[in-house]
């Protein structure tokens, strides 16, 4: 299928791990992805021989580390096809990125009576920051609903985009249903009414190419740890002209130009939004992860995953009393399902003991569960290092689980 899966799997040391003496079948990539050896080695090497604080130092180590940090920024810029490295802010993660925009954009542009539009399938990280903003400013949260397949009801989008709408915050792909949203269409419609759009790409970037210039989104966010990079790092892309106008989010070292008690001026982009000592090891590790992805090939990954998704859906469909939640035509390789009369927690416990790591619960998308009137689902989320054989193990595991529990 274009990918040398055996080679790829050997790049990720954890995948040859055993749990309870069974081979690990890691299907919890929606929560976090595993790291290739090259990322792990880079982090070790940085700490063993180059660690130093960046930007203000003129000594050798600092110089080297600064160079690598800024090179990582350039790698991210190229990955997203952004115009300028000034548009790439390193944050603590997707949640940190969204909170940055909710605060800074909110301070500048949102007042009482204004509206923020999100969707019914957002992750809590793309709901709660906007709720907090709305509460602070007296604004209103509006919601684009989805249909029984888990696809946005775009027919009412025009209605929802009102004169008071200031920003639309929408996931590129749903972490609980797997839906890929038609973000380009939403962005076009919003822009036609001069409304800004933030795209939460936390579940999209690891599955294929993303081009912020083509999308023309105003903000795009994702987490390093979900795209094979280290924890504690993430990205906020923002259009330069917009970022220029926003007030900073956090105050601290590196984000200032001149500080006095009477008057403080801020640094230029991207530093204005990077307060304090940045997680430079995380950012550099992320850069290496993106380079690794490039070396595998993003198009190849996308087509391999498409094939694997088809296989998975076929396998799951053949299991009686298994119901899938989220059947969008355009999807990532993330599958939520329920086994009739079986509690997800029980299923999770049993699958775990077979070495199968899936996630159970609400997946931080409680409104999606409420929509379907359920407490949670079992979720298998795959990336390009997963295989058909693993799906077979999952299907067999589900069968056994159902036997045990009925």
């Amino acid at each position: 299928m274009g990918l040398n899966i055996k080679q790829i799997r050997s790049d990720f040391p954890i995948l040859s791990q055993q749990v309870y003496k069974k081979p690990l079948v890691y299907l919890d990539n929606g929560a976090t992805t595993q790291k290739p050896q090259v990322v792990i080695d880079t982090i070790r090497e940085l700490q063993e021989s180059q660690n130093s604080s960046i930007h203000r130092g003129i000594h050798y180590l600092s110089e080297q580390m600064t160079g690598r940090y800024e090179a990582a920024r350039e790698t991210v810029r190229a990955f997203l096809n952004a115009d300028s490295a000034n548009e790439i802010i390193f944050t603590s993660g997707a949640t940190g990125s969204i909170n940055t925009v909710a605060f800074s954009f909110g301070e500048k542009y949102v007042s009482a009576g204004d509206e923020i539009l999100i969707s019914e399938m957002e992750h809590h990280s793309n709901i709660v920051p906007w709720q907090m903003l709305c509460e602070r400013k007296g604004a209103q949260l509006k919601v684009i609903p989805f249909n029984e397949n888990g696809e946005l009801k775009l027919e009412i989008l025009d209605e929802l985009l009102t004169k008071r709408t200031k920003i639309v915050a929408l996931s590129h792909a749903s972490n609980s249903m797997g839906t890929i949203n038609p973000v380009k269409e939403v962005i076009e419609k919003a822009h036609a009414k001069d409304i800004a759009v933030l795209i939460d790409g936390a579940q999209m970037v690891q599955h294929g190419e993303v081009d912020v210039k083509e999308l023309d989104c105003d903000f795009y966010v994702f987490s390093s740890h979900k795209i094979f990079g280290p924890t504690g790092s993430g990205v906020l892309y923002g259009k330069e002209s917009l970022l220029e106008e926003l007030p900073p989010y956090q105050g601290g070292g590196d984000m200032v130009d001149q500080v006095s008690f009477e008057r403080t001026t801020y640094n230029t982009l991207p530093f204005k939004f990077e307060a304090g000592t940045s997680n430079y090891t995380g950012a550099i590790g992320l850069g290496v992860a993106l380079e690794y992805l490039h070396s595998v090939g993003l198009e190849k990954i996308a087509s391999y995953e498409k094939e694997l998704s088809r296989y998975t859906l076929g396998k799951l469909a053949r299991i009686d009393r298994l119901k899938i939640y989220g059947n969008a035509a355009n999807r990532i390789s993330v599958f939520s399902f329920l086994l009739q009369n079986i509690h997800t927690y029980d299923a999770g416990l049993i699958l775990d003991k077979m070495g199968i790591a899936v996630r159970t619960g609400t997946h931080c998308t409680q409104p999606v569960m409420d929509h379907f009137g359920i407490d949670g689902t079992i979720r298998a989320s795959l990336v390009f290092y997963n295989t058909r054989e693993e799906i077979d193990v999952l299907a067999e595991g589900i069968r056994k689980t159902m036997e045990m529990l009925s």
Binding site: H343, Y345, D346, I350, G361, M404, L405
Partner: protein, 146 residues
Amino acid sequence: MTEYNKAQQDIVDEFSVFEDWLDRYNYLIELGNDLPGIDPKYRSNEYLINGCQSKVWLHADLVDGRLIFNADSDAIIVKGIVALLVKLMNERTPSEILENELTFIDGIGLRQNLSPTRSNGLLAMVKKMRLYAMAYQAKENQNKES
């Protein structure tokens, strides 16, 4: 060894025959199925211990100086563990429950299920069982004094 701890040891011994995790779970599922569900009047929010991933309901009465527990869960394996806890603590005096430590959960390798981050309600349920014991003990002492 107290009688209470003897009972704990018995549970551990019973489990020791199962080498495989799935067998242990099968046993817990059996125990869960055998435990009569809680009286519907207690299967309400008032008696609910919300564990985010699974729910537990608990109620206790004091009859002749001994605690009678009535408990349930919506997840069957959790209910199996609930059954073990009830089996151990039922018809005990408050002081028996308060003076002895809970060790069998560790002994049968289920400690993870009582970790604070498990969100299955079990840890909160154990705490609640002890709280019931404390409350009834306090009440008894009061009655004695007056």
